[in-house]
Structure formats: C-alpha cells, structure tokens
C-alpha cells in the first residue's frame, strides 16, 4: 500500500474523535432546561384578567414603571422558596416596581391558601383559568418570572425559582438599585 494511502487512513481518528470530544464537553456546560423566551426584547403582550380579590386588572396599569411578573401555583414547591424574595423586593421597591402574580393551573381557593400561609405581599394576583395569559407569555412550568422595563419591553425571563443573585441582577438591569 502506498505511503500516502497508508497515512491517509489515520485521518479518520481525529476526524471522528475531535468533534465527539468537543460535543461532549461543551454539552456538559449547558443546561437543557434553560429555554430562552422569544419575548425578550419585545413588548409585553397585552392581557387583562380578574384578580383573586375579584377586581379587573389590565396590563396597561404596568406602563411607565419597571414590572416583575411572577407565574406561580399553590402546588408548586419551589414557589414557596422564592416567595420571601418576592415579598422583600416588593417592599424594598414599593412605588418604583410593579409586582404582579399570575396564578397558573390552580384554583382561587388554593391560591388564597398559599398566600395566607406564606404571606400576601398585597400585589395583584391574576387568575388565568383558560391559560390565555400563560400561552401569550409562553409559560412552560411555574415558577417563572418576567422582568419588564419601564417602556414595556420584556428584558428577561427566569425559569425556576428566583435566587438573590438573579433578582438583584435583573432589578439592577431595570434601573433599580439597592
């Protein structure tokens, strides 16, 4: 066999091994559950619904101020973990930040029970029985939080329970400082 043919076949080894290595190792750094929202950079879709108190609420009310929209449910355990952070943020930025909740796949009684147990921050919690808002926001699974700036553009969508760092980071990005 010619020397050229003899050496050529060795190309097969790096040809196969290098892409496999790259794929495996870069893949390890990714979290497959981190799905980016197509709403980021776009205006918040308009919505209107009834709150737990029975009042009508429209997303128009959020205009002019940064807003935090938290999607939650009473059966959602991680929602319990993030609730104190939301309460603290709502208190700290009262007047500067609008906080609203969207109750996802839950009954009004269940939601009220959650608030009674873990604290009612006083912000409007919207009922979404037909998933109208959930679909328009592209909600995958609670808890999810949307950060909207003062001009109504969605800046970030966080999947899973909020953490101190994410909250601080995103609120700072909205122009609110501690």
């Amino acid at each position: 066999m010619s020397a050229r043919g003899g050496l050529l076949r060795w190309v097969a080894v790096p040809l196969l091994v290098v892409p496999v290595t790259w794929l495996l190792f870069t893949g390890l750094g990714r979290d497959p559950r981190d799905i980016p929202s197509p709403l980021v950079g776009k205006p918040l879709p308009a919505f209107a619904a009834t709150t737990l108190e029975g009042e009508e609420f429209s997303s128009q009310a959020l205009a002019g101020r940064p807003a935090l929209i938290n999607v939650w449910a009473s059966w959602c355990d991680p929602c319990i973990d993030e609730h104190p952070l939301l309460l603290a943020a709502a208190r700290a930025y009262a007047g500067e930040l609008s906080v609203i909740g969207i109750v996802h796949h839950d009954s009004a009684d269940g939601a009220r029970g959650f608030l009674a147990r873990y604290g009612d921050g006083g912000w409007p919690d919207l009922l979404d029985p037909s998933d109208r808002i959930a679909i328009d926001l592209g909600v995958i699974f609670p808890p999810e939080t949307y950060f909207v700036d003062a001009s109504g553009i969605v800046r970030y969508r966080h999947l899973g329970p909020l953490t101190e760092e994410v909250l601080a980071q995103q609120l700072a990005a909205l122009g609110l400082d501690r």
Binding site: P38, H105, D131, A134, I135, V139, I140
Partner: protein
C-alpha cells in the same frame, strides 16, 4: 402452467398498482377541523411534559393549547400561521420537528453517501481481489454444489 403463473403474477401486480393509484391519486375528503387541529397539535410539544406532543398529552397546558388551536382555526388561520403563533410565544422549542432544512436532508444524504461509499469499496474490492479463480467453473458444477449444499447442513 407457466402461462397461468404469469397471468396470476400479472393480475396481482395490476391489482397492487390499482390500489396504489387509488390511494395516492383519488382525492380524499378534505380533513375536518378536528383532524386539522389534531395534525397541528401533533407537531407541537407539550410544554410541561417530557417528550409528548400536545395531541397526545392530557395535561392542562396541552388542553389549553388545543383549545387555542381550535380557536385559531375557527378564525381562519392556516396551519403554518398557527405554528408561528406558538413559536412567537414559546420559541422554536415548541415545534417537535426542527424547521432547519439541514435536519431533514442530512440523514437521507448521509445514508446515500454511506451507500455510495460502501458501494465504491465493494466494487473496488471486486476488482482487486486477493485470490483469482483458478479455472472456470461450469454450470453443471454449480448446480451440483448447490444441490448438495441445500441437502446438507448450512
């Protein structure tokens, strides 16, 4: 006997061709709204399941999306528009099949390329065979060997 066999074969092939033609060419009834909705739902991923489509899943989220699909169809939107409606809200991730044409033509191309590669290697192997036949083998030899082999173990 031979002509009977040929007639039967011809009849079977004709019947098969007729069936194929009827299946493919004769227009079927246009799909009902329910069928259309189901077809679209089968291409969307259920957001709170692992790998199921909206058509298969029975979670509340899937039911809501199915209702939305029905509403959109009633409003006169096309299947494509409805898919885009959901992509605009959930991202490309909501589609169970990738829109990228690469994902569709790469496997068949790879298959054909593989077949071509194998074929080339096969033909090259035949040309540069290591052992050449010693003397021509007659048809009678072949028949004898084949009969003997068939009667014996594999």
């Amino acid at each position: 006997m031979r002509s009977l066999a040929l007639t039967v074969a011809a009849a079977a092939l004709l019947a098969l061709a007729a069936v194929a033609a009827l299946q493919l060419v004769v227009p079927r009834a246009p799909p009902s709204a329910a069928e259309q909705a189901r077809a679209i739902a089968a291409e969307l991923r259920c957001p709170d399941c692992q790998a199921l489509s909206v058509a298969e899943s029975r979670t509340a989220a899937a039911a809501a999306i199915r209702a939305e699909i029905a509403e959109q169809l009633a409003a006169g939107r096309s299947a494509n528009e409805i898919r885009q409606h959901f992509v605009a809200r959930y991202g490309d991730w909501i589609l169970l099949t990738p829109t990228d044409p690469l994902a569709w033509w790469l496997p068949p191309v790879a298959l054909f390329a593989g077949a071509a590669l194998f074929g080339w290697w096969w033909i090259r192997g035949r040309r540069s065979s290591v052992a050449a036949p010693a003397r021509p083998v007659s048809d009678a030899d072949r028949r004898r060997v084949r009969d003997a082999a068939e009667a014996l173990d594999d």
